[in-house]
């Protein structure tokens, strides 16, 4: 197992005590902690460069613009985009997917058209399409999940036809950790001329991702899930699609001309960035991908696979514990959802919290999947670069304690 324990010192928050115990942070699928390199980048930006971008002929504004645009280049580079202009900064994954749903969907979908989703999608990749289906009359179709917690492709042939205009799929489930069948769906989409949208909120932070190889048309992800600040994310799109897509938000900076009754848009990517962008956050995002690049995404993935394997093994030793997710760490990431005996997930989270262990409990913004799994809620531990096998051991001890509190022996 790759040893990344030297990284822990970069994360000030991991030094916190919670309820008298050192914090064991196991909720990185929700949001990650930030290294000093990111925190300081934001801080330094405000102290030394802060100005609005793109609009200024003075030195500070030029420096701010450089900082902002060079972060765009870093993020583009990180995901293998061929050009910085293929990356649009958004508020996060959710906004990125809404931008596609509105900008592309409102203008290209209609009665009879279909959007194909999977049952394991996060609400961020469900609700925008529901909204657009209400406005356009298009309908939604779903691929189900098989017994191995992976997307069931056996019904694909039945569903797939020329009316499918969009296939939107998660690169990795934030509940089960299962990788999404992106490659298969890209093939399927090609056959019918659909576009493929990848919700990569859990993919880009955890698995080396090269958009030039992936075959998808749009890829959305969030900085805060990959060591970066809150308030920013990215939408990568194929150049010709970004070119043709309408902007969702209108405002300053996204126009080349505004007349009273009509306007012309600025070139990509600026036409999608109306108003003052999250500038300091972009700078922090750049620092985050610098950090991850230095660690190396292959090592990040290796580390997480090892820790996930270790976690799955240890959890298997706990009586009455069910894991919802693929057993094979080649086919999954480090989000591990589980149920312990009859203890409600919320109670598990409370008990663990008493020992300083932070896990998520609930529907994880994936209610369709929870219904499919027939559980109202699960507890979820999820890992990132700073987690260690000791964290897993602490989790194990906490779960044994939860059994005791609930009178199970």
């Amino acid at each position: 197992m790759i040893d990344l324990s030297h990284l822990r010192g970069d994360f000030p928050l991991l030094e916190r005590e919670i309820n008298g115990y050192p914090l064991t942070y196991l909720d990185s699928a929700s949001t990650t902690q930030k290294p000093v390199q990111v925190i300081d980048a934001v801080d330094t930006y405000y102290r030394t460069i802060n100005a609005n971008v793109h609009r200024g002929a003075y030195t500070l504004a030029a420096e701010a613009t450089d900082a902002y645009e060079s972060s765009r280049a870093k993020v583009a580079d990180f995901i293998g985009a061929s050009h910085a202009n293929e990356v649009v900064f958004t508020r996060g994954t959710t906004t990125a997917i809404n931008f596609i749903a509105y900008g592309w969907g409102l203008n290209n979908l209609g009665e009879g058209d279909k959007v194909l989703l999977t049952v394991m999608e996060h609400h961020a990749n469900v609700v925008p399409w529901q909204i657009i289906s209400r406005y356009t009359g298009c309908s939604l179709e779903y691929l189900s999940i098989d017994d191995g917690f992976e997307v069931d492709l056996t019904t694909l042939d039945d569903i797939l036809d020329e009316r499918v205009k969009v296939i939107a799929v998660s690169g990795m489930s934030n509940v089960t950790g299962a990788l999404g069948p992106v490659t298969a769906l890209v093939e399927a989409a090609k056959a019918v001329g659909a576009i493929v949208v990848v919700d990569a909120a859990q993919l880009v932070p955890h698995v080396p991702t090269d958009v030039s190889q992936l075959g998808a048309d749009f890829v959305a992800f969030s900085a805060h899930k990959m060591l970066g600040p809150t308030g920013i994310g990215a939408l990568w799109g194929k150049p010709d699609l970004l070119e043709r897509m309408e902007p969702t938000e209108g405002g300053g900076e996204m126009i080349s001309d505004v007349q009273l009754y009509e306007s012309r848009w600025a070139p990509v990517p600026h036409k999608f960035e109306a108003g003052t962008p999250p500038i300091a956050q972009a700078v922090g995002f750049g620092a985050a991908v610098d950090y991850l690049s230095k660690v190396g995404m292959a090592d990040v993935r290796d580390h997480e696979q090892a820790i996930t394997r270790y976690a799955l093994d240890r959890l298997a030793d706990i009586p009455d514990l069910t894991v919802y997710g693929p057993p094979d760490v080649e086919r999954r990431g480090g989000a591990v959802s589980f149920q312990l005996a009859d203890i409600h997930a919320h109670d598990i989270a409370t008990i663990l919290d008493q020992y300083g262990i932070a896990v998520r409990a609930g529907h994880h913004c994936a209610k369709p999947l929870m219904r499919h799994l027939d559980v109202p809620a699960t507890a979820r531990a999820s890992f990132y670069v700073y987690n260690t096998t000791e964290d897993v051991d602490t989790l194990y001890d906490g779960l044994i304690e939860a059994r005791t509190v609930f009178g199970l022996t």
Partner: protein, 150 residues
């Protein structure tokens, strides 16, 4: 006793595992639904009222031990009582849980004398994020009561 033991007292786990009055009513009743979107807890209530007295109730839905136990204890506590008395119990409960302001009505010398098993929920107060779990059943109840007087 640790805070955890205080939170998960045996009587609470008993109500969680053996919830009273689960099901639904077939006769005339009002229906109310409560939800806790942040954790997904659901609480559904059928309430039968005759001449200002709660004659029957049935509970469905699902959730954590605190929300389910709170509902189960509530059921035990209000059937057969007048609506006005139930409103008073609700008020006392909410004050006990620091959901509403007031002097804690519970008598520490005589545990259970004021709100019965419900008093065992006081341990939740040390867990502020869980208070809304304890409250879910009662907010739903208030909704149901409001319907009966409409």
């Amino acid at each position: 006793m640790t805070s955890l033991d205080e939170l998960y007292r045996e009587v609470i786990l008993d109500h969680y595992r053996n919830p009273r009055r689960r099901g639904s009513l077939s006769g005339p009743h009002v229906h109310a639904e409560g939800q806790n979107p942040s954790c997904g807890d659901e609480f559904f209530l059928d309430l039968a009222v005759e001449d200002g007295v709660i004659t029957d109730l049935a509970i469905s839905g699902q959730g954590c031990s605190i929300s389910q136990a709170s509902g189960s204890m509530m059921a035990d506590n209000i059937v057969g009582k007048r609506i006005s008395d139930v409103r008073e119990i609700t008020r006392k409960f909410k004050i006990m849980m620091s959901i509403e302001d007031g002097d804690n009505p519970v008598d520490p010398e005589r545990p259970g004398s004021v709100l019965g098993d419900l008093e065992s929920l006081q341990g939740v107060r040390k867990f502020p994020v869980r208070i809304k779990c304890a409250d879910l059943a009662w907010t739903t109840l208030e909704d149901a009561l409001d319907q009966t007087t409409e």
